[in-house]
Amino acid sequence: MKALGILTYYTGVQFARDKVALFWTLAFPVVLMVIIGFAFGEAGTASLPVGLVIEDRGPAGQAVAQALAGIPIFEVTTGSQEVELAALAEGDRRAVVIIPEDLSAAWQRQEVATIQIHLDASQQQSAGTAMSVVQQVVEGVQREFTQQPSLVSIETHSVQAEGFRPIDYIAPGILALSVAQLGLFGATTLVEQRQQRLLRRLQATPVSRWKVLLSMIVVRLITAFVQTGILLGVALALFRIQVVGSWPAIIGIVVFGTLVFIALGFLLGALAPSAEALIAIVQMVNFPMMFLSGALFPLDFLPEFLHPIAVALPLTYLADILRQTMVDATPYATVLQGMGILLLFMVASALLAWRFFRWE
């Protein structure tokens, strides 16, 4: 234990003295977020096509329809139930909201009314957003109408009344991206030490390989905490992003994501003959991943033929679950599904890395 503690301490000291590494892990993500945040954060909203079926011709139905049409990120189309659901099935709508015939009547009687929302299950990201916003809006309208707490039966999670802005999308994406980079570069020290024959020198002492590896992983995790703290601190202070998820859940996902990408990083390290080659390989993975994963902008912006790539990228899943936890109100089952996929990535990478890494 003493050796592990001291080894971890000195591994951390080295990391803290490496100015270049510090810039890329701690400063660069913040710079990236601030630039993108100021450029696109408030405007240029990606609109979500939402179908609206108004079966209630009373005042409540009108009010809900108006309120939904007033949401900036929604591009509302009104139509019959058949037409709208068909459009949803075609992928032309992210969500279809059906305002029941008895809404006005039910609210007048102070009774609970059920609003149906049909979501496009293949677009969990935007569908989740749509659902949260609709719920928020309908509850707002209902409160005005009835002066009563909730008479609407939808999900209980909600995004804040300001709604969903690009920065709310970008901030978790950049956090995911930084965690991914931190992990992918996680094996560079190990590969450098192999190249400098330092690993061999360490092997000639009684210290075990596990301790050497573990010290590097622990330092990466600590760095991930610091990085998350700085990024979210800036995002909260500068852009006032709305965090709806629980902090323990967010921190847990950051730790988990760091471990997943460290495993991937060690796999790349196992395949790279030298530290220079490793950095080149990581960059080759890193750049496409940045743009094809939906970390920085929704996948809907990408042409259809690139979507299969996104599905194969672990960053897609990490960005999704971080976003789902931080700013969407997504059911835990969906988040767990994403984590399950990442777990598979992690286990497979770790096993392959262990199989192929050469210590000399």
């Binding site: 050796a3 001291i6 080894l7 000195y10 400098q196 330092l198 020198r201 000639a204 002492t205």
Partner: protein, 315 residues
């Protein structure tokens, strides 16, 4: 453990190697090496690059599996009891870079944490003369300072046995001499030292005994002076040439094997120093040849290697 009973005393070899074998594919890197290193001895493995020196050291310190033969280091088999061996030895490997962003004293403290018992960092810095550079980052140390630090590291666990693989390769003469002093101090402290080198002079200065290795085999083993006496018993008498002495005249003197003429002086090679020298003195009184710059030269390990292989060691 090899124990030779001598009355009440027991003499234990620090290292015992018996018929050691190691191949890489078709290449036999180590081909049946056998030698023993006694406690408190500085022992040299001497040979050109690729002779199998480093492979041998790496097997002894438990970094490489052997294909055959038996090995005992400080009484342990490195293949079976690697951790036990590692606690008893100090190691300096070839071409190793340490942690570039840590200082000399930080690196020593870090390595100290790997062992149950360790020597004070200050003592080691003083021993290798790095007190003034203790706060300097490794990447800012000179080549000689880096090498001195790596020697200090070999002593961090106060080991009985120290392995040095090419400790002075690539260093300038002054830095090399500084390292020799440190090895000398190790010997004075009673450490057993096994070192490899392809510098014959280094082996002659530092080692009580050397094994000359080529192609994974031991060609000769013994004290440097004994090896020279055995394989190159000739001595060379150097005198300045003058018109009055013809080289052919010198060659006819008793016991002289041949004469090399170079840069105005003659190197008279002899199998019997006394006979040839007496004849030269007699000759000089007849011909008034000046003996002011007369020098007598012994052979070196370099000559031994040349004699054994027909090659110079750095060919």
């Amino acid at each position: 453990m090899a124990i030779i009973e001598e009355g009440m005393d027991t003499i234990v070899s620090a290292i015992e190697v018996e018929n050691l074998q190691k191949s890489y594919g078709d290449l036999k890197a180590v081909d049946g090496l056998s030698f023993a290193v006694e406690q408190g001895e500085v022992f040299g493995l001497l040979g050109p690059n690729g002779a199998g020196k480093t492979t041998t050291i790496e097997i002894l310190i438990g970094l490489r599996e052997r294909d055959g033969g038996s090995v005992q280091v400080a009484g342990f088999d490195p293949a079976q009891e690697g951790d036990a061996v590692k606690t008893h030895i100090g190691v300096q490997l070839q071409q190793t870079q340490l942690f570039p962003l840590l200082s000399a004293e930080e690196i020593l403290s870090l390595f100290a944490s790997f062992y149950r018992n360790s020597k004070p960092v200050d003592d080691l810095l003083e021993l290798v003369g790095l007190q003034d550079r203790r706060k300097a980052k490794y990447q800012h140390l000179s080549g000689g300072q880096k090498q001195r630090l790596s020697l200090a590291l070999t002593l961090i666990n106060d080991p009985e046995l120290v392995f040095l693989d090419e400790p002075t390769t690539g260093l300038d003469p002054q830095a090399r001499r500084a390292l020799w002093d440190i090895v000398e101090q190790m010997r004075e402290q009673g450490k057993t030292v096994l070192l490899t080198t392809h510098y014959m002079e280094e082996a002659e200065v530092l080692c009580q005994r050397v094994a000359i290795i080529d192609h994974g085999k031991i060609l000769a083993l013994g004290a440097p002076r004994e090896l020279v006496d055995e394989y190159v018993p000739e001595r060379a008498i150097e005198i300045p040439l003058s018109d009055s002495v013809a080289p052919s005249r010198l060659e006819s003197l008793p016991a002289v094997t041949h004469v090399d003429v170079k840069d105005g002086s003659a190197a008279i090679h002899t199998m019997n120093l006394r006979e040839s020298l007496t004849a030269i003195l007699a000759e000089s009184s007849k011909t008034a040849v000046s003996l002011d710059n007369l020098r007598i030269q012994r052979g070196t390990l370099e000559d031994v290697f040349l004699h054994l292989t027909g090659r110079t060691i750095r060919e």
